[in-house]
């Protein structure tokens, strides 16, 4: 494997690890706020308890999502310094928006949790709104960088106006697809957790699954919209994604099979989710199917993000059918110390394994021993 492919893959791996957590954070935060607000409106104690359970899932995922975000930032600056320099120059304000989201969301999350039951339900429900907005600001800001990879602005050295940077034509479709996807994944993962033996909650599974299933429709439309936008601005990506079945002329042979697989998995998720939802509506949880739906939603995310990012290889910034290749942006300031890089990969994997143990203890082994139901 060439060094540029290796580091491109490593960047992709780090990004996907980050997104596995981040999508759950986005989705479960919004779901928590919505369920909590509904609980207040209907004066329904069960929904409030469900909102609390959902919020716990978010808190645990939030910490590790943030850690992977830091690793991703350092990897980008270390391996692709010019790409980061372009981002921070052209997308200064979108980055500032995302940063504001991070800085504001952490104290709001703490306040939201701590003030639960200590202030009036109405005030607490209202507090959830800025919290959800601050969490959403993070992907809304950072997705500008991805839009900037697909429709580059300011890479010729000229400083574009902020309006030009903010009006990136790829951004609206990408942002919509991201937010809906996050909500969908959050709903399916929450349903999967609520279907585990120690967390069994039929009504919770029903609510989460029905949300996830309902969101599949707008998410599919958003996906198609994003595809159309890419077809207009990034034929290189679309050719690689579409493959021969959809009339594309791929330069890369490994992308479209994964895209097709992801589409098949979406169909599978629809079927599995529908059956699991039907069962939940009949009053019992089909644990294997509900958990499978959660796993499938994350698997689809991994494949789709891989397709979205991998399909640009060997380019990073794309413009039409060409762009700036990875090796032109690769760090050459030092002889890259491969042993050290392998050490870092090993370390992140080891600590991720330890985190999985923490997650297991936190969410599955000791999830509901002290419930007040």
């Amino acid at each position: 494997m060439s060094i540029d492919l290796f580091l491109f893959s490593l960047l992709g791996f780090t990004l996907i690890m980050h997104l596995i957590f981040v999508n759950v954070i986005i989705g479960v935060t919004v779901l928590t706020v919505a369920i909590r607000y509904t609980a207040y409106l209907r004066n329904d104690p069960y929904l409030e308890l469900l909102a609390r359970r959902a919020f716990r899932v978010m808190v645990i995922f939030d910490l590790f999502g943030g850690v992977w975000g830091t690793i991703l930032t350092v990897y980008m600056a270390g391996f692709f310094p010019s790409m980061v320099a372009i981002f921070t120059r052209v997308y200064f304000y979108p980055v500032a928006i995302a940063l504001t989201g991070i800085l504001v969301s952490i104290p709001l999350i703490v306040m939201y949790w701590h003030l639960w039951g200590r202030i009036s339900p109405r005030s607490h429900s209202l507090l959830g709104i800025p919290m959800a907005i601050s969490v959403l600001l993070v992907p809304l800001g950072f997705r500008y960088l991805f839009a900037g990879l697909n429709y580059p602005i300011g890479i010729d050295g000229d400083q574009p106006s902020y309006i030009a940077a903010l009006a990136n034509p790829v951004y609206p479709a990408l942002a919509l697809h991201t937010i809906l996807g996050g909500l969908d994944i959050g709903a399916f993962v929450l349903a999967a957790i609520l279907a585990t033996r120690s967390n069994m909650d039929v009504r919770g599974v029903r609510i989460a699954l029905s949300t996830g299933m309902a969101l599949l429709i707008p998410q599919s439309i958003a996906g198609a919209y994003y595809y159309v936008v890419l077809a207009e601005y990034d034929p290189y990506i679309v050719n690689n994604i579409a493959g021969p079945l959809l009339g594309g002329k791929p330069s890369l042979g490994f992308v479209y099979p994964l895209f097709y697989t992801a589409i098949v998995l979406v169909v599978a998720l629809t079927i599995v989710g529908a059956i699991a939802l039907y069962n939940a509506m009949m009053g019992f949880v089909n644990r294997p199917l509900a958990i499978t739906a959660g796993i499938l939603s994350e698997l689809i995310l991994v494949l789709m993000e891989f397709v979205n990012d991998g399909s640009r290889y060997p380019y990073l910034f794309l413009s039409g059918n060409a762009g700036i290749p990875v090796n032109e942006l690769l760090n050459e300031a030092i002889p890259l110390p491969l042993v050290a890089i392998y050490t870092m990969i090993a370390s992140t994997l080891i600590f991720t394994a330890i985190f999985s143990i923490v997650l297991y203890y936190g969410l599955f082994r000791r999830y509901l021993p002290e419930t007040e139901e």
Partner: protein, 499 residues
């Protein structure tokens, strides 16, 4: 203390401190994010630091220290009260170790900006008064390429624009040959110990102050009982920190940042600072071990620059790096000596400010060391003669002024506030004193700033965020420190139980 004595007072206070630790960790994540993105956004050329000398330290920090610290602190919270105390303590020690390791890695990146270890004699070639910075692990052509690009873009508007040129690192080439060398930078090692000890002093000082305030308000002796073990660590840290570590820190400044050293002593050096050399017996004693050793004034550095003669940049590049001549057209006829003199002269106006921060640090260091001695030999350990002296000061001089029972809380607060003032002033002197460079002797500040116009509204916005974090963070620490039940709620939250 609890596992040794089984006194629940210690257990409850350990839980309170765990609350404070959690808030601090969250604040660390928030402020760390600000620093990281602040560097990338406001000083974009520092991205090059991530890609060269800071590559290993910053990647190790993220992938070993920070990730480990984050995982273990959650592990600690989840298992708190479920596992036996020794396991929880072991997890905390591991978290502390990884947190300190995180400090070492980040400070290594900062230290390289102060002492660019591995650059050998390259900075000296431009500034003859500078020393050699470790082994020659830099590629001269690469460094010249980098300098030419930064200068070119700086003259064009903003040096940081160079980095956002695709192919930038390819154009520069390999300029830092051994990325491991920054990990053994002597400044990194002493800076790490110096900073970590200062952090321990501030942390312990805050806890000591909280207990002292409680004691003053209630006169309950349990707060003094809790204070004693903290004071043991705090006093020892405060005796080592300013006297031993501060001295070694000063040594690295004298050796590797001579121009900064002159700026530091501006306020005591008088007009001599602006001359060729001057005498300052106390500073010379600590700096050189000889009170009669002259200290160089700014004129010395200006004279040193003259040793570069009339060599121009174009002559330098024609000889060493002809391919980059086009990039230095803006300074082609500038002589190396005038470039060097310009750097020296640019520090002169801010030297009094740097010196004010330095002497604030020194003054605070002396006061906290005295306070530490007074606490140590009167309240913690009694040694003939020494204790007589400290007893006399505490009981005969301070007691009549502030009250017999108030002396210990007063001294504790002096140590706490003094540590915070010393650390803040010390960092200000370290960073401002590095002017005109961002990387000492290599990259100037105007070569790193963002081309994005920073509007007053944006500045006000950033200040508001920073103020909110400082005020909110302090209030949050106070809040959790005064509500011991919170820890149980956090543990249950993370375990999944109802709070």
């Amino acid at each position: 203390m609890w596992s040794r004595t089984h006194d629940n007072l210690y257990l409850n206070y350990a839980k309170t401190l765990t609350n404070v630790l959690i808030v601090n960790f969250a604040l660390g994540v928030v402020t760390g994010t600000i620093v990281e993105f602040g560097l990338l956004d406001i000083w974009p050329t520092s991205i090059l630091l991530f890609a060269s000398s800071g590559f290993l330290p910053l990647l190790y920090e993220a992938t070993i220290a920070f990730i480990g610290e984050a995982v273990l602190i959650v592990f600690f919270l989840i298992t708190l009260g479920r596992w036996r105390a020794s396991y929880s303590i072991a997890l905390l020690i591991a978290t502390w170790f990884l947190g300190s390791l995180s400090g070492y890695f980040i400070l290594t990146a900062n230290a390289w900006m102060n002492v660019p270890w591995g650059m050998g004699n390259i900075p000296r070639a431009l500034y003859p008064f500078l020393p050699s910075y470790g082994p020659d692990d830099a590629n001269v052509t690469g460094v010249l390429n980098l300098a030419a690009l930064l200068v070119n873009y700086t003259l064009d508007g903003y040096g940081s624009m160079a980095l956002s040129n695709p192919g930038f690192t390819h154009l520069v080439g390999v300029f830092y040959l051994n990325p491991y060398i920054s990990l053994v930078n002597p400044d990194a090692i002493i800076t790490t110990f110096h900073t970590l000890f200062a952090a321990y002093a501030i942390g312990l000082g805050v806890v000591g102050t909280a207990l002292s305030v409680r004691y003053l308000g209630t006169r309950d002796d349990k707060y003094i009982k809790l204070l004693r073990p903290i004071l043991w660590v705090l006093t020892i840290v405060l005796l080592i920190e300013p006297i031993v570590l501060g001295h070694f820190m000063g040594d690295t400044v004298v050796k590797y940042q001579p121009l900064k050293f002159t700026a530091l002593v501006t306020l005591t050096g008088g007009k001599g600072v602006y001359g060729y050399e001057f005498y300052d017996p106390i500073e010379a004693l600590f700096a050189y071990g000889n009170p009669y050793h002259p200290i160089h004034g700014f004129e010395y550095y200006l004279s040193s620059c003259n040793a570069l003669g009339n060599t121009t940049f174009v002559e330098l590049y024609e000889k060493l790096d002809p391919s980059m001549i086009n990039y230095i057209s803006g300074i082609s006829n500038l002589t190396l000596s005038s470039y060097c003199r310009e750097a020296v002269l640019s520090l002169e106006p801010i030297a009094p400010l740097v010196s004010a921060f330095y002497y604030t640090m020194i003054g605070s260091g002396i006061i906290i060391a005295i306070a530490a001695v007074l606490v140590l030999f009167t309240y913690l350990i009694r040694i003939p003669v020494l204790t007589d002296v400290t007893d006399f000061i505490n009981y005969r001089l301070l007691s009549p002024l502030i009250g017999y029972y108030n002396v210990l809380p007063f001294l504790t607060m002096v140590m706490a506030f003094g540590s915070a003032i010393a650390a803040t002033a010390g960092w200000a002197a370290r960073e401002i004193g590095r002017q005109p460079w961002t990387v000492y002797g290599l990259v100037t500040t105007n070569e790193v700033v963002t081309p994005v116009p920073i509007t007053p509204v944006f500045v006000a916005y950033v200040l508001a965020i920073l103020t909110a974090i400082a005020v909110g963070g302090s209030l949050a620490m106070y809040y959790v420190a005064t509500r011991p039940g919170i820890l149980r709620n956090i543990s249950e939250l993370l375990r999944g139980g109802e709070s």
